[in-house]
């Protein structure tokens, strides 16, 4: 059954893929050609991958416009929940370089929990602090992953 109305999101996703393919083709064309002898130029695989994506993306675009992907109808976006998660991610990126991982992690944790319907920000803050410190010590001391304590450096 052909659908009369193309789904906006499907068209947008296909168009975005076409765009990525074009950017990728442009980047391939600016790869400096090596003066060093090589049997296969460093541009061959990028050409294949980029033009492959372009062809597939164009077919997908056609499919989205005329037939639809045939996936089930998507549910309406819950902007409140999504907004909280996005806010948490933004706060995380803003705080981690300045105040350090522990603060960023607590902010992220509280916002995401709020987004998923938690109504107890104080309790979440407490859990967040425990989680941040616990995982900081675990990764930093056990795995040797340096995530930086920020302004708490020297205290932890």
């Amino acid at each position: 059954m052909p659908r009369p109305q193309p789904v906006a999101g499907e068209v947008a996703v296909s168009a975005a893929l076409v765009l990525i393919a074009l950017v990728s083709l442009w980047q391939t064309s600016v790869i400096p050609v090596s003066p060093i002898y090589a049997r296969v130029a460093p541009t061959l695989f990028p050409w294949i991958a980029s033009s492959g994506l372009l062809v597939i993306a164009l077919i997908l675009l056609g499919q989205a416009l005329f037939r639809g992907f045939g996936v089930e109808e998507n549910l309406a976006v819950d902007w409140r929940a999504t907004g909280w998660v996005a806010a948490g991610l933004a706060a995380n990126a803003a705080l981690i370089g300045t105040f350090g991982f522990p603060f960023a992690a607590v902010a992220l944790f509280v916002c995401v929990a709020r987004g998923f319907g938690s109504a107890a920000p104080l309790r979440d803050t407490a859990i967040g602090i425990a989680l941040a410190l616990g995982s900081y010590l675990g990764f930093e001391k056990l795995l040797g992953v340096n995530i930086g304590a920020g302004i708490l450096e020297g205290i932890l």
Partner: protein
Amino acid sequence: MDTLAALAGGFATALTPTHLLFAFVGCLLGTAVGVLPGIGPALTVALLLPITFQVPATSAFILFAGVYYGAMYGGSTTSILLNTPGESATIITALEGHRMARAGRAGPALATAAIGSFVAGTIGTVALTFFAPMVVELALKLGPAEYFSLMVIAFVAVSAVLGASALRGLACLFLGLILGIVGVDLQTGQPRFTFGMIELLDGIEVTIVAVGLFAVAETLHLATRHRHGKDELLPLQGSLWLSREDWARSWKPWLRGALIGFPFGAVPAGGAELPTFLSYYIERKLSRHPEEFGRGAIEGVAGPEAANNASAAGVLMPMLTLGLPTSVTAAIMLSAFQSYGIQPGPLLFQTQGELVWGLIASLYVGNVMLLVLNLPLVGLWVKILKIPAPQLYGGILVFATIGAYGVSNSVIDLLVMYAVGVVGLFMKRYDFPVAPAIIGMILGPLAEQSFRQALTISQGDTTTFITRPISAAFLAIALLLGLGPRLWAAWAAARPARA
């Protein structure tokens, strides 16, 4: 006999206290992430990648293998009690298992899943033990041209065969290939796709992409549909002991599942979903109670669960003998090998015998540990399932942050992870598969390398891929895999019209 001696040596490695501990921690972690919806073994291994800088390769891989096997066990618990398959390979388990739990038979469902996983996992590991050396013999005869053609099979299989739409799968494969190109070309030293940014010269970290696609995208996706639907956790009811009738109805599906699962995992066209579907179908055909299917038939849990564990063992075969990952977790394990500077492939069995056989032996050990962890201790995992969603997803994103930021303490890495997460959100929303992107990204550079080596050997003659018989056969298989199902569908559609 050589194999048995090597295996004995492997047990000597695996049974040291340190390695037992690594195996145990891996199994514990693996079961936990398998149980928790939203995180899986691929994400966990990606988060644990930094451990490769800390401990010897053997220990790290024993840990990873424990996570990998453990998640297969844990996933079934979630499917049965929550009807939310933790892993794609346990979708079928949810069909019958959840019905059994609704009927108050959660206990037997969990028991047949755990014992079936053990039986099939062990059979799969035995098969791996004895077939892997044979595959190595064959693999030593393959040149770069054959390797390239093998990778083409893997690419076609993950993108065009598995999954709902070949087009969307291929789009993701090419996206992954493009991601894999970013950075300095190793052969000529030219920067590619770096947009002039120094940060991109080293390429994009696998960890960042994997964590972005799995943790960030998954959380965003669930947030967008938060207000719709809640899952209901069913109580653990019914004895964990299987009745005589349950045993009688379970053991044949276990064995059949193992026989179906291993080969599917082992051929480069792997994937654990297909054998579970096949096993379910066969059990329904063979059952003396076909009317129970769809209403909680124990065979429908026993067979597919066995199949998915056997295929998990199977996936390790091309991974270890050929360096060819066919699942996302295996692909990330391959990048762990690379971070040790080890190239998996036939030579691995000669140069890293202790590592390979220690790993294989630890799979036997892990299976025993997992049986104990999952059967008597199933109550513990049910408690983990009760972690409320707000705190669970908050925690997942905190760990994701550590994974991305810990690579080089760069906020840019974090933002790249977010960007990948947003792309992943759209992929989920419009049903684009994730696996081709990850496998393309990790396997793409290896394919390019083989391609170049092949052309260097043939002195630029591109027909080398079709004039060398084995390579030509591989390419023919890839072609068949890609076109076969479509031709079949077209033929099936045309037939009633003709009749």
